[in-house]
């Protein structure tokens, strides 16, 4: 996952083509095409209900698509013959509400997937987990249970848990939306560090300021359609589309940019 200075991979890490998802008769994604390149950080923005979370869940096979194709490193992962469980372990998903396992300690949360899914020995998994926890400043919390941690600490553990699987890319689903304002910073700082290490990230976010600083590309979704995408200084400052302007005007009114 580190940047070794090699020329950028020509095959995108993630490629989505014509994604369609309906809940009942309600369309949530109405034909979305986009891709994420190696080491790229892409921010998904848009109003609540625009389809950001659903998009993340569909590409990571946590929701079944109604149509369309998703390729990870060129492999069609939406092929029903693909081993969906294996595919999911190649994504590191971090949720808005952390979703840590309350009956397991921090260390057990982080080592569960490496041990159960990848068959790593307990000693090795714990060793690596402690290393990762140390890096995010939570080594002292290894034996604590999640409910004893602050929201920011829980979310950092959730990120470490996702990283412990050595995923091909991280999918972050509004990872700061459930946090108290003073705890947002510590989580965003960690995401920024991951970007600097070259981790490929696709993140749904309401933090426009953060998207502008960290994202290589911003994708604006509205009503299940990809309306506009491009560098943050264009999409977030001088968007081409009227709907993007409207959305940004509302965000600025709310004091979030």
């Amino acid at each position: 996952m580190s940047d070794d200075g090699s020329p950028p991979n020509t095959v995108p890490v993630l490629e989505a083509e014509g994604l369609v998802k309906r809940f009942g008769s309600q369309p949530v994604l109405s034909g979305i095409d986009f891709g994420v390149a190696e080491h790229e950080v892409v921010a998904l923005i848009g109003a609540s209900g625009s389809g950001k979370s659903t998009l993340l869940r569909c590409v990571s096979l946590l929701e079944e698509l109604d149509d369309g194709t998703v390729r990870l490193d060129g492999d069609d992962i939406t092929d029903p013959r693909a081993d969906a469980d294996r595919v999911r372990s190649r994504f590191g998903v971090v949720f808005q509400a952390f979703n840590l396992f309350p009956h397991l300690s921090v260390l057990e949360n982080v080592t569960l997937a490496p041990r159960v899914v990848h068959g790593v020995s307990r000693a090795e998994a714990e060793d690596r987990a402690r290393g990762l926890l140390d890096r995010v400043g939570l080594a002292a919390k290894a034996t604590e249970y999640p409910d004893r941690l602050s929201g920011g600490q829980q979310q950092r553990v959730a990120i470490v848990r996702a990283l412990a699987n050595e995923p091909r890319m991280l999918l972050l689903d509004e990872v700061t939306s459930a946090l108290d304002p003073e705890l947002v910073g510590e989580v965003l700082r960690l995401v920024r560090e991951l970007k600097d290490e070259g981790v490929t990230i696709l993140m749904a976010t309401h933090e426009m300021g953060f998207a502008r600083q960290v994202a290589d590309r911003v994708v604006f979704l509205d009503d299940g359609r990809l309306v506009e995408q491009g560098p943050p200084e264009v999409v977030l400052v001088d968007p081409r589309q009227a709907r993007t302007r409207q959305f940004l005007a509302r965000v600025i009114d709310a004091g979030r940019l």
């Binding site: 990571s60 946590l62 469980d85 294996r86 999911r88 372990s89 190649r90 994504f91 998903v93 949720f95 509400a97 979703n99 840590l100 396992f101 309350p102 009956h103 569960l112 997937a113 159960v116 899914v117 990848h118 249970y145 409910d147 004893r148 848990r161 996702a162 699987n165």
Partner: protein
């Protein structure tokens, strides 16, 4: 009398006043509780002892000599109850969890299993235990099938397991349903299979949540193991019955009943302790 300053030199005058007040209140309630208990017991005891017929009641239900004489036989029967209880409890947990897990299976292949599990819980929760005991305990040996046990202890245990597993399966299923779907999603997102998510994430949380109702069912089972006596197994209840017939005195039944209570009380306390510990471990404190 205010708590002296030298005892708590670090406390403010206001806090010492509050402490003094609370201590006074506590002393007053202890005094009140103690005296009212003494008065109540005295009145209650006098009324009972002075009521007409008390002597007959005493000799029929509280005859210490009969109790002492019948205790060894009843205790030996109770030992059988305990062994049946231990075997049944383990089997019930296994069968109940298995049936609950079958009901949560997804996919068309498992449709017959799901249906069977649902039918099993519906039938055996509705079927009267005493009728099932008669059917299994007297009906099955009457078939004279090869290799099928005829011991009333074994057959009584089978009937108990069949009935209680249906209840316990529903308890487990309710527990599984209370685990939030986001927990499953997190487990699946890490690449765990459906079965692995169930075993490592959903079931451990479900079992913790249903420990109180399970222990409640366990207390009920402790008493119901006495029902194997209707099949002729010489357990505590049957032994007491024999003693009652021998002495023309009902005290042995009371002895048997007290043995069952002595077994139930620690279980209930254990349940309280287990719950308190689980709550402490997973949650930070606070006034709740």
């Amino acid at each position: 009398m205010t708590v002296p300053a030298e005892v708590f030199p670090e406390l403010s005058l206001a806090q010492r006043d509050r402490l003094t007040y609370r201590r006074g209140q506590a002393r007053r309630s202890r005094l009140l509780a103690g005296s009212s208990t003494v008065v109540f017991l005295a009145v209650f005891g006098t009324v009972i002892v002075l009521s007409p017929g008390w002597e007959r009641v005493q000799s029929q239900f509280f005859d210490l000599q009969v109790a002492r004489d019948s205790l060894p036989a009843i205790a030996e029967g109770f030992w059988l109850n305990l062994r049946v209880l231990a075997f049944c409890a383990v089997l019930i947990l296994v069968v109940g969890l298995g049936v609950a897990a079958l009901r949560t299976l997804r996919g068309p292949v498992f449709a017959p299993l799901r249906f069977l599990a649902a039918a099993y819980t519906d039938i055996f929760r509705g079927f009267p235990l005493i009728v099932l005991l008669y059917l299994v305990g007297f009906g099955v040996p009457g078939l004279r099938l090869q290799g099928v046990p005829t011991s009333p202890v074994v057959l009584g245990g089978v009937a108990l397991v069949l009935t209680y597993s249906a209840y316990v399966a529903e308890v487990f299923r309710a527990g599984i349903d209370t685990v939030h779907p986001s927990q499953r999603m997190a487990a699946r997102s890490l690449g765990l299979t459906y079965g692995q998510s169930m075993r490592k994430v959903v079931l451990p949380q479900a079992v913790r949540r249903v420990t109180p109702p399970l222990l409640n069912d366990f207390v009920a089972l402790q008493k119901d193991v006495g029902l194997i006596s209707v099949l002729g197994a010489v357990d505590a209840v049957r032994a007491a019955q024999i003693e009652v017939a021998r002495t023309y005195d009902f005290t042995p039944y009371l002895v048997a009943g007290l043995l069952f209570i002595a077994l139930a009380v620690p279980t209930v306390r254990l349940a309280d302790w287990v719950n308190a510990r689980a709550a402490r471990r997973q949650q930070a404190g606070g006034l709740t």
